[in-house]
């Protein structure tokens, strides 16, 4: 089991003849992803790494029955590529492209929603369900099949955390990079909801960073709806306000979006925040042990309560 992508994922690659698109199409295929086609207008009929290329997403979908698309086209064309994928009936679109204008994203998001589709990204590394499917650019060599769900706003920081888990023999159900931009298609809450519902996921790692209030919103959601242990890390504690730290979304403005506020919000709902990615596996282990205790405790309390009420009745 896994979330969003699995063995049933039939993937097309938009921008498959480009430098990044062709390289990663091959990488995904090697990993075992069912890459059924690619799209580059004007290159229909050719092949990349044995994968058939189509002129339009519409053609690719009708010929192959694809249900997922990954986008590697340049920023000026990325939003049109999202419209095209969703308009052609694709239900999961993963946009890797970095540098997409936020205003364009604001316009495409309602369209994606209206068609009942899901967009992940832009400016993200994509996702991987170890042993099942990889959509995007995450290195397949660092993951291991298991039951920790990973969700992150970053790329290489995600790899760092995944590697820490894998080195400690803690495999992953699915690892999702949701992207570092201001307007993204899928946020922490969407992923938390999916991990909570996924039977193979036993614990969740949420990697946040400065800027916005997604982590704070996620903390509230966890308190209300998530029963599985959640461990976090927040990047950007040493970042000064008002400066863009690489990601468009990572900017502290008007005193909000600081790491301190985020850590406080997470701690408040019982989510431990690691001081370094290397501490994440240890925190998960602790929490999973602790969780059993709390479960027992609450059960014990209930029994005790019943007894006292009984006494009162007497």
């Amino acid at each position: 089991m896994s979330v969003f992508i699995n063995k049933k994922t039939k993937l097309i690659v938009q921008g498959i003849t480009g430098r990044d698109g062709s390289f990663h199409a091959e990488q995904m295929k090697e990993y075992g992803t069912n890459v059924v086609g690619g799209v580059t207008p004007g290159k229909g009929g050719s092949k990349v790494a044995g994968i058939p290329v189509f002129n339009t997403v519409e053609d690719a979908v009708s010929e192959t029955g694809a249900n997922t698309s990954v986008i590697y086209v340049p920023p000026a064309f990325a939003v049109d590529a999202i419209f095209e994928a969703v308009g052609s009936g694709i239900k999961l679109v993963v946009c890797i492209t970095e540098g997409v204008p936020a205003n364009e994203m604001m316009k495409v998001y309602p369209f994606v929603k209206s068609k009942g589709a899901r967009l992940i990204g832009p400016n993200c590394p994509g996702l991987i369900s170890p042993g099942e499917s990889k959509v995007g650019i995450m290195p397949g060599s660092i993951v291991k099949k298991g039951n920790v769900g990973v969700v992150s706003r970053s790329g290489t920081l995600t790899y760092e955390a995944i590697w820490a888990l894998t080195s400690n023999n803690m495999g992953q159900s699915t690892c999702i990079g949701i992207g570092g931009d201001q307007v993204i298609g899928t946020n922490f809450i969407d992923c938390l909801e999916a991990f909570e519902a996924d039977r193979s996921t036993k614990a969740i790692v949420m990697l946040g960073e400065i800027g916005g209030t997604d982590e704070e919103d996620a903390a509230k959601y966890v308190k209300k709806y998530v029963t599985k242990p959640v461990v976090s890390f927040i990047a950007g504690q040493a970042a000064p306000p008002g400066k863009r730290m690489g990601h468009a979304g990572a900017i502290i403005s008007g005193g909000t979006g600081t790491a301190k506020e985020k850590i406080a919000a997470l701690n408040k709902v019982g989510i431990p925040v690691a001081g370094s990615p290397i501490e994440i596996p240890g925190l998960i282990k602790e929490l999973m042990k602790g969780n059993k205790k709390t479960v027992k405790k609450t059960a014990a309390k209930k029994v005790a309560k019943k007894k006292t009420t009984n006494k009162k009745k007497k």
Binding site: M106, S154, G155, Q182, E209, A238, A248
Partner: protein
């Protein structure tokens, strides 16, 4: 990207939003001449990318051209929150009756632009927002439908009662919304939007931040970038296609990926050091980027050690290693350099780095500690 007030006013003026006449000058004599030309009292306003200019003494009223000259003399060269004033805007002073606030920002949570207005505008708007948030009215706009006339009018009624002023403010809000979209802004703001004794509604200050991702299609705005007001190392980094922010510490950092670069900085602090910069070489493995990165960091005299942390994914460690070797040949660094390379082609990278015999760290935490330690030794 931020633009100066005078540039934002040019954009607003072109969109039909009323702004007082004004021009930017770089010396007191020009300030004098302008005040003579306007034949009215003027404001002399420092043009720096920082808030709270007025409170810092960077905005002054001048009754006469002589006063404008004296004030321009005083303000040009002034230091405001670490930035030196190089230009002042000389603009006709308005006789203010009321001060309001109008701003539009992108709301990440709803993925929509949100318009905010308040009749309690002026220098203390942040305090108003923090202490009396009910004094600020907000409207989320459906980005597909756009802002409708009645919506802008409803907002205008939050500011004024007098029908002609409501009409003028409605018009300004609609035009400001157009500016927001047309220039790919991440923020547009008029604070204050004033009414004067003639009953006019005028934007006497203007703020405009542009989405960096959209600069490729906003050529006119991109040209407004004031390279003079930026740190030269940040300018060089941008030209070298690196994402760089200068900080004050002693440990230079070269990392791939923004999240990991921030994490590396955090760990430097955590283990008792102080990061000298944020630097993300990005996803590509171009060895030249490493050379440029090293050059920029070495130009900072405060740097006592350099830490290179690469988690290879698309970035191939051997390419980075080649960049490091080239940088050593070209720049001959006089501070210790500590490296951690892991992921794609890690073994090849280690072979290549034997040429320069650098201390290696296996984990992120190791390499950070090592860099801090070596930085200290160097000081002694």
């Amino acid at each position: 990207m931020k633009v100066h007030e005078y540039q934002a006013k040019e954009v607003f003026d072109a969109a039909g939003i009323p702004v007082p006449p004004g021009k930017v000058v770089t010396n007191p004599v020009d300030a004098y001449d302008l005040a003579v030309e306007y034949a009215k009292p003027v404001m002399v306003k420092s043009q720096v990318h920082v808030g709270g200019r007025g409170k810092a003494g960077g905005i002054k009223y001048a009754e006469t051209p002589e006063a404008a000259k004296v004030l321009a003399q005083k303000i040009i060269g002034m230091d405001i929150k670490g930035l030196t004033v190089k230009k002042v805007l000389v603009t006709v002073a308005e006789d203010i009756i009321t001060e309001s606030y109008v701003g539009i920002i992108l709301d990440r949570a709803t993925k929509q632009p949100v318009i905010m207005v308040s009749s309690a505008g002026g220098v203390d708007i942040e305090e108003v927002a923090a202490k009396t948030p009910h004094k600020i009215s907000k409207l989320h706009v459906d980005p597909v439908v756009g802002l409708k006339y009645y919506q802008a009018r409803n907002l205008a009624y939050k500011l004024y009662r007098e029908p002609s002023q409501v009409k003028k403010a409605t018009d300004i809000i609609l035009k400001l919304y157009d500016v927001f979209w047309n220039v790919d802004a991440s923020l547009v703001e008029i604070n204050p939007l004033i009414t004067n004794t003639a009953g006019e509604v005028v934007a006497i200050d203007a703020k405009l931040n542009i989405d960096d991702n959209a600069l490729y299609r906003q050529k006119a705005i991109a040209e407004m970038r004031d390279i003079d007001s930026e740190d030269p190392s940040e300018v060089e980094a941008r030209e070298g296609d690196l994402s760089f922010v200068k900080l004050d510490g002693n440990i230079g950092c070269i990392v791939n990926g923004a999240g990991l670069a921030m994490t590396t900085m955090d760990l430097v602090k955590r283990y008792g050091g102080d990061p000298a910069n944020f630097l993300d070489i990005g996803g590509s493995s171009n060895p030249q980027k490493v050379v440029t990165a090293m050059k920029i960091i070495l130009s900072d005299p405060k740097v006592e050690a350099i830490l290179i942390n690469i988690f290879g994914g698309i970035t191939r460690c051997d390419d980075v290693a080649n960049g490091i070797v080239a940088a050593f040949k070209e720049l001959k660094p006089n501070v210790p350099v500590v490296v951690r390379l892991t992921g794609t082609n890690e073994e090849k990278a280690k072979q290549i780095l034997k040429k320069v015999n650098l201390p290696f760290g296996d984990t992120l935490d190791d390499v950070v500690k090592k860099a801090i330690e070596l930085g200290k030794v160097e000081v002694k």
